[in-house]
């Protein structure tokens, strides 16, 4: 369970990643392909756009952790709604890109590794666990994407791609 405090930790720590986001994306994929060289085949030759998508999606997820409580009952459009975006993202990963469910584990590992390097010594056990929980939750919703019965043409289509 991702607690409020953990959400705040994630948001804070992300600010430290932002200035180095491009490098972080480099490191992430380098690490991922170290862990699973066979996953290289899932991605295009030129990874530039892919890295942008990754950072964009992570930024979106973190931003969604950062809504003020006071705004809890505002109206939110589908492409700004984290659940829908992540669900659609997961569906694309499964149905379009053919990413198997077991890929979520190495991806999570690469993500944590990257954060560890990007954030340095502040990436302590607590922060690690907060990110791990957030990733676990996002991955869980992504895996549910195949069960999605929403209008498949819309939700989250703009918000990102493979990551």
């Amino acid at each position: 369970m991702l607690s409020q405090a953990e959400r705040e930790m994630v948001v804070r720590s992300w600010r430290l990643v932002v200035p180095i986001a491009d490098t972080a994306a480099d490191l992430f994929y380098r690490r991922l392909f170290e862990l699973r060289p066979d996953y290289r085949a899932y991605f295009p030759e030129d990874m530039t756009g892919q890295k942008k998508k990754l950072v964009h999606m992570l930024a979106f997820i973190v931003r969604s952790m950062d809504w003020p409580d006071s705004a809890w009952n505002d109206d939110v459009s589908p492409d700004e709604d984290l659940f829908l975006v992540v669900l659609a993202l997961g569906r694309r990963h499964t149905e379009i890109y053919g990413i198997p469910d077991e890929a979520y584990a190495p991806v999570g590992e690469a993500l944590l590794w990257t954060l560890d390097y990007g954030i340095g010594k502040d990436f302590d056990a607590q922060l690690r666990s907060a990110w791990a929980r957030l990733y676990g939750l996002v991955a869980r919703v992504m895996k549910m994407g195949v069960r999605s019965i929403a209008d498949r043409s819309k939700a989250g289509a703009q918000a990102g791609g493979r990551s």
Partner: protein, 598 residues
């Protein structure tokens, strides 16, 4: 009101807890409809932005309903609801709090199953029901929560002391089904709703209209504004419509994107939100306006850079430093400020800062070594006999004057500003990193035209480290000759590029520390560093792993001052490094070829 189905599945794959957790990612109003394996509606949960708006199961609401629903088999459908909700609506509780409750109920339920069996026990005391329903009205989450916890031990007790009577639970439809009874009831009755009086499918189809039901007056959310509890729209045919608890009858159309992504309250990098607390008085006021005053014009002879090499023996820098440099204008000419930094801790940054400083001093320059690392390593490395408990951070905090903590050393022309801060509250570092301009002003004040300020910056690239880099004219990166370190070094150019151009230090070079040319990995790191920083930036004098460093460290002395055992050799390495650094800083050193013995 538009209800868009989003997701469907069975509760044996994703149970209520998992569902609620996923639903916390929903920003828009969303509902989960739960059905029994037979397809009968069991209950509905409303959530928005991680807040639980309401939970209904039959005529149970709030936590009563949660208790009923936990552990039931069946299926679920998740909907997104278009439209905004009544602004006066108060959430029942946070999603995380509901998860806590569910998790406890699940534990209880498991314990219950583990024990001899189920039996009827008295319903929860009425006051408990009252508390729960009161919770449903709004802010009474705590009491409700407490009642949930309260319930647990009593179950245990009764389970332990009573005889198993598994039939009873289903046979006696209770007026107020106690949640913990019903939690496990479906297992006895093959999944059909245990309390037919309460969850009979026929009446449930009309559930929205039936809420609030007459017999459970106490559990209807009483204090909700009447307008907000408007009669719901008739249920759509295929699925039970959610009871729009506390929603206004006409759902106002969505006014577009109502949430702008909340911009962070612009705290500086790495400053925790909480650190916004009491800001120290401005340094100039506290530490005296000395180095903040618009200064006297610098001595005409002084050039901004390169720093003129001193001809004769240096005047004792520290003695002069406090008063002289404090008159120096931040905007006037100043000597170079060299940040020695590393993305990773433990790579020998302090060792290099100390020994490079000593080497620079031995070449006749005046050096102030500023320890910006809160661990106060410089003080430790030099086994200072002076008090290093106060220093940079105390000055920045405004509790002490710079002159009082700038320490002269045995080497003329070499002064050290320890990190200090040992007597300050923990949050001083956060506060300091929140005020980069104070660090900048202080470093500028130290950087008199004839002085090189060497800053041992904290490991990492953010917070104080970022401030130090922004305030420096040059930066010397330290990379440990080890494969992982070089990866983290890959971040360095990005961080430097991220600093606004008018504050960005020039990369004075990259030092490979703990280099061992016998190890292939070390050589690979050399290659990697050249790739990252450009070959011209990497010093070709990697600093070796050598026993003398450990020895020097044990003695608390710079290696150049070590007698024998390689001290001279290692010292020579830093002499060379100093030459390179001076060249990068654009400072002239006498060319050997220009020197004449006779």
């Amino acid at each position: 009101m538009d209800r868009v189905p989003v997701l469907a599945g069975t509760l044996d794959e994703t149970d209520l807890e998992g569902l609620v957790e996923m639903m916390t990612l929903f920003r828009q109003l969303s509902t989960v409809e739960l059905e029994s394996p037979a397809g009968a509606p069991e209950g509905t949960l409303w959530m928005k932005s991680g807040q639980v708006i309401d939970v209904i199961a039959g005529d149970l609401t709030g936590l009563d309903a949660v208790r009923y629903l936990v552990g039931r088999p069946g299926s679920y459908t998740v909907y997104r609801i278009e439209g905004v909700i009544d602004p006066t609506t108060q959430p029942l509780m946070r999603g995380t709090e509901l998860l806590q409750v569910i998790s406890e109920l699940k534990t209880d339920s498991a314990r219950l199953q583990h024990s001899t069996g189920l039996q009827r026990r008295g319903a929860l005391p009425d006051e408990s029901a009252t508390v729960v329903s009161a919770a449903a009205t709004a802010a009474l989450v705590e009491p409700a929560d407490a009642s949930a916890r309260q319930a647990a031990p009593s179950v245990d007790a009764s389970a332990a002391t009573s005889q198993p009577q598994s039939g009873d639970a289903a046979e006696q439809p209770p007026e107020h089904t106690t949640p913990l009874d019903t939690v496990s009831a479906p297992r006895l009755r093959d999944g059909s709703p245990p309390d037919s009086a309460e969850t009979e499918p026929a009446s449930l189809t009309a559930l929205p209209a039936a809420v609030p039901p007459p017999p459970r007056a106490p559990s209807t959310p009483a204090p909700a504004p009447p307008a907000a509890r408007a009669p719901s729209t008739p249920a759509p045919a295929p699925l039970p419509a959610p009871a729009p608890m506390r929603m206004p009858p006409p759902l106002t159309p969505a006014p577009g994107r109502a949430f702008a992504p909340s911009p962070p309250a612009a705290p500086p990098p790495a400053a925790p939100r909480a650190a916004a607390a009491p800001a120290p008085p401005p340094v100039p006021a506290a530490a005296g306006p000395r180095w903040a005053t618009p200064a006297a014009p610098p001595p005409p002879a002084a050039r901004p850079a390169p720093v003129a090499l001193r001809a004769g023996p240096p005047a004792p820098g520290p003695a002069r430093a406090p008063s002289a440099e404090l008159e120096h204008s931040a905007s006037g000419p100043h000597g170079p400020i060299l940040a020695v930094f590393a993305n990773k801790g433990g790579v020998g940054k302090t060792t290099i800062a100390v020994n490079l400083s000593v080497a620079l001093v031995r070449r006749g320059l005046e050096v102030v070594l500023v320890d910006a690392d809160p661990r106060n390593d410089v003080g430790n490395a030099l086994a200072a006999r002076k008090d290093t408990s106060r220093g940079l951070y105390d000055v920045l905090d405004g509790t002490v004057a710079l002159a009082d903590v700038l320490l002269p050393t045995a080497l003329p022309g070499f002064a050290i500003l320890p990190a200090g801060g040992l007597n300050l509250p923990e949050d001083v570092f956060a506060r300091v990193s929140a005020q980069p301009e104070r660090i900048a002003a202080l470093l500028l004040a130290l950087a008199r035209p004839n002085t090189i300020v060497v800053v041992d910056s904290p490991a990492g690239l953010r917070g104080v480290s970022y401030s130090v880099l922004s305030a420096s004219t040059h930066a010397l990166a330290v990379v440990q000759a080890e494969p992982l370190a070089v990866r983290s070094a890959a971040l360095v150019p990005r961080v430097l590029d991220g600093i606004p151009a008018n504050h960005r230090p020039a990369l004075a070079g990259v030092v490979l520390n703990m280099f061992d040319r016998r190890v292939a990995a070390s050589l690979a790191v050399l290659d990697g560093a050249c790739e990252i920083f450009g070959a011209e930036a990497v010093y070709d004098i990697p600093i070796p792993r050598a026993g003398v460093f450990i020895e020097a460290s044990a003695n608390g002395a710079p290696v150049a001052l070590m007698d024998g055992s390689g001290g001279t050799t290692a010292g020579f390495i830093f002499e060379s490094l100093a030459s390179h650094v001076l060249a990068r800083l654009g400072l002239s050193t006498p060319k050997l070829s220009d020197l004449r013995l006779l």
